[in-house]
Symmetry: D2
Subunit: 255 residues, 4 copies
C-alpha cells in the first residue's frame, strides 16, 4: 500500500501539481477541492495516465466536520497520510476597510487559519502515533507584511504563519515536520490568479512576463521544492523558505 | 468638551492605567471592560478623585454589535473619540494542540483579531472625516513568534499584527496613526497575569523579581510611552515598538 | 554640573536637533561632527542663545583613537556621559556591485558598525560603573532589508542592528538602555539628504512633499521621541522602534 | 569539461560535505580552506575514490587578493564556476564587550562580511556574462538575532544577511541565484564546533544528543538541501531558508 499524500486545495495551480509530483514519486495522491468536479476528474485521470495513483474529493473545507470526516475516511479506506499539503488560499483581491464585510473577514480566517488548525488537530495525533509525518503549508507574502486593501488576507495569513510556528514548536520533537512555504510572487495558476484578475488581465500579465516562460512561477517547478522539503532528513529540516521567480523583486523590495 | 480616549479592555493593568494617564492629560477616558463592575467603578472614581473625567461601561466585545453600539453611543453622547486603545488580550495559558478546543481557538480570534477589525471599521471612517485620530494596539510576543502551547494566542496575535499593518498602510496617509505596541514581558497586572498564574504563583513571581521593583513591567511607566506615541507629530510616527523590563531578555533571546 | 548628552554625528539634521532638545531639557550637549566648523559653531551658539549648554568638537570618527580620546576627555573635563546618540550614517547613494570599491565598502563598515562598537566599548564600562546610561542609535531601513545598489549601506546597517541586539542583551540587565531607532523615510536634513541628492533635486523633493510641511520627517519632531525613549523607566524600555512620516509607506510596503 | 563548484571554507563539516555532494552530481569540486593540508588532501582523495573530481587549495580568505587570484586561476585553469558556496564562519565563542578586542571584531567582519563581498565582486560579473550562476551562503542564527557575548559574530552575520539581500536584488534578474541558508543549530562538525567547545565538551554534547543520531545536524543531510537549492528552476528560487534538527527549538523559541 502506497503512503498517502493529502492535498487540501487541489486546483490546477500549486495544489494539483504538487499532488501529481507526489504521485509520480510513489504516493497515493488524495486531492480535495471545493468545486469543479470536472477539473478534479481531469487531475485524477491525468495522474493515472502517468501510472500514478490518485483519488479526488469535492469538499468545502470551511463546512463543519468536512475536513475531519474526510481525513478519517482517507485514513480508514485509503491509507495513512504521511504527507499533507495545506493549500487553501484566502486572497479575495483588494478591498478597502469600508468595503470589506465582517462576513468576508471571517471567511478569510475560516479558510486560511481555522481550517489549518482543524487539519492539524485531526492529523497530528495520528502522525505522532505513527512516529512522524510532514505538513506542508503554502503561504503568501501577506503572512509577513500587511498592505492596503489586504485586511482579510493579511490577518488570516499572519495567523497562519504564527500557527505554523506553534505547531512546529510542539510537534517537531515528535517527528512531525511543519514547513511554511512563502510564495512571494504570481503563480501561473489560471484557477486562482486567473479568476481573480479576470481572463483578459491574466492573459495580459502572462504575455508581459513571457508566456510559457518563467516570469510567473511555474507550479511544476515549485513542486520540486515542495517534494524536496518533504524528504529532508530530520536532522536538517527547513521550517520556512520563500519561493519567487528570478525576475521578481522580493517582498521587502517592492510595493 | 474634552476629546475622548476610549479604552477597550480596561482592567487594572495596562488598560485602566493608560486611561488614567489620558484623563490626567485632559482627555475624557471611556473605560470598557467585560466584567467586574466594582473594579470599573473604582477606576472611574479614582480618575475623578484626581480631577479627571471618566466614564465606564461593561461590555462583552465579542458579542454582536456590542462594540459598534457602544462607539456610536460614545460619539453621540460623550464626544468624538480622538484616541482609542485596543487592549483585549487572548492569552489563555499553555494548551497543547489536543487540549485546545475549536471553541477556544475561535474565541481567541474573536477577541484578539476580529474585535480589532470591527473596532477599526467602526472608528476609522469617523476619524477620517475629522481629519485624523490615533489607534493604539497592545500586542504581545506571540504576535512575532509562535511557541508550543500557544496555538490560539499566537494565531490571533499574528493576525492582529498583520491587520495593524494593513490598517496603517491604508489609513496613515489619511491621518490615522496606528501603533502596534509589543509587550514583551510580564506586566504587573493582577487582573490578567495574576488570574492566569493563580495568586500564589503571582506573588511568588513578584517577590522573585522584586516587589515594588521593576522586574515586572509597571503599567504607569508603560502608560508614559502609550501617551507619547499618541502625541507624536505626523511627520514622525512610530508604527511598531517593543516594551520590556531592563531585566528581561528580549523575545529573540529567550524561550 | 549638568549630565552630558554626547552626540556623535551632529549635523543640521537629526544629530544637532536631538542635541538641542537635550540641552533644552537640562543636559550639556556635546556635539561631534567630522567637518564644517562654522556649522558646528552655529549649532552651539544657537543652543546657548536658548539658554542651554553645549560644546562642539570636530572629530573624524573613523580615525584611530579619535572617538576614544574624545570620550575620555569629555568625561574628565565636562562630565559623565549619561546619554549618547550614535548618529553616524553611511549612506553613499546607489552603487552597483561593480562600481562599489573595496575601500568604500570598508569605509561604510568603519563608520556605521565599527565606530559604534568602539563607542560602546569606551562608554559602557563607564556607564555600568555609574549604574546605568542610555545609548540611542539612529538606524535606517537598510538595517532590515537590502536593496539593489545598497551593498555597503545595508551590510553596515545590518551589522549595526545585530550589534545593538548583542549590546542590549549584555548590558540591559546592567542598566544600560540601548535603543535602535529605525528611520524609515527621508529626513528634512540639508546636510545629508540634501548633499546626496544635490540642491536642485532636494528642493524639488521638498516642494513635492510640501515645504515646511511634514512629508519629510522633521528633526525637531523626531527629537521628541529620541528624548522620550531616553527617559523611559527601566521597567518599560523600548529597544526598537520605527519612525516615518504619516504620508510615507512603511519599508515593507514600498520599493 | 565539468562545471565547477567552488567551496570557500571547505572543512570536514558543511563545506567539505557539500563539495563532495556536488562532485557526486557531476561537478568539479574546488575546495578551499585556510589550513590543514592533510585534511584537505583527504577530502580530495575521498572524492576521487568515489569517482568524482576535486581540487584543493589552502587559502587565507582575509589576505589581500587571495580570494580574487584563486578565482581568476580556477576560471582559467579548471573551468567556469557555476556554483559557489561561501562557507566561512566567524564564530569565536562567547566574548563579553570588554574582552572582545578591536582586532577580533574587525577579523569577524573581514571573514564573514567583507570576504563575501569580495567573492561576489570577483564572481558575479563572470557569472553574469555566462548568463547565470548560483551563490550559496551558509549563515547562522546570529544573522537574525544578537545575543550576549556575540558582538563580533552577530555584527558580521547581520551584515552578511543584508548583503545577500542586496546582491539578490541586483543580480537575481540577471540570472544569479543567491541563497542565504540559515543554519540554526549545532552541526556535527568536529573542525569547528568540536574545536570551539574542546574535545571533551563536544563528545559530551554528541552523547547527550545521541551519537550517530540526528540531534546534531548531519552535514551529508544538509548537503542534500544545498544541492537542491542550486538546482531550482529560475521561476521558483528560494532566497532564504532555515535548517535545524527536528529535536532543536527554532531560534525564536530558545535562548
Amino acid at each position: 500500500m502506497k503512503p498517502v499524500c493529502l492535498v487540501m486545495g487541489a486546483g490546477a495551480g500549486i495544489g494539483g501539481t504538487v499532488g501529481r509530483k507526489f504521485a509520480k514519486e510513489g504516493y497515493h495522491a488524495v486531492l480535495c477541492r471545493r468545486s469543479d468536479a470536472e477539473g478534479l476528474r481531469k487531475l485524477v485521470s491525468g495522474i493515472e495516465a502517468e501510472g500514478g495513483e490518485a483519488t479526488g474529493f469535492l469538499l468545502n473545507a470551511v463546512e463543519e466536520n468536512a475536513l475531519e470526516d474526510r481525513i478519517e475516511h482517507i485514513e480508514r479506506e485509503i491509507g495513512p497520510i504521511e504527507v499533507a499539503l495545506f493549500n487553501l488560499g484566502a486572497q479575495i483581491g483588494s478591498r478597502t476597510l469600508t468595503e470589506l464585510t465582517y462576513k468576508q473577514f471571517e471567511l478569510g480566517w475560516r479558510m486560511a487559519t481555522f481550517a489549518l488548525f482543524r487539519m492539524a488537530k485531526e492529523l497530528f495525533p495520528r502522525m505522532e502515533e505513527r512516529g512522524g509525518g510532514t505538513f506542508l503549508v503554502t503561504s503568501a507574502t501577506a503572512a509577513v507584511r500587511g498592505n492596503a486593501g489586504q485586511h482579510s488576507h493579511a490577518a488570516a495569513m499572519g495567523g497562519r504563519r504564527m500557527l505554523c510556528q506553534t505547531l512546529n514548536a510542539e510537534y517537531a520533537p515528535k517527528g512531525i515536520h511543519v514547513a511554511h512555504i512563502l510564495i512571494d510572487g504570481a503563480v501561473d495558476a489560471p484557477d486562482t490568479l486567473g479568476r481573480m484578475l479576470g481572463e483578459e488581465a491574466f492573459q495580459k500579465l502572462r504575455e508581459q512576463r513571457g508566456l510559457d516562460a518563467d516570469g510567473l512561477m511555474l507550479p511544476e517547478k515549485m513542486a520540486e521544492t515542495y517534494y524536496h522539503v518533504s524528504q529532508q532528513h530530520r536532522s536538517a529540516w527547513t521550517h520556512e523558505l520563500d519561493l519567487r521567480s528570478f525576475s521578481d523583486l522580493a517582498w521587502w523590495n517592492h510595493r
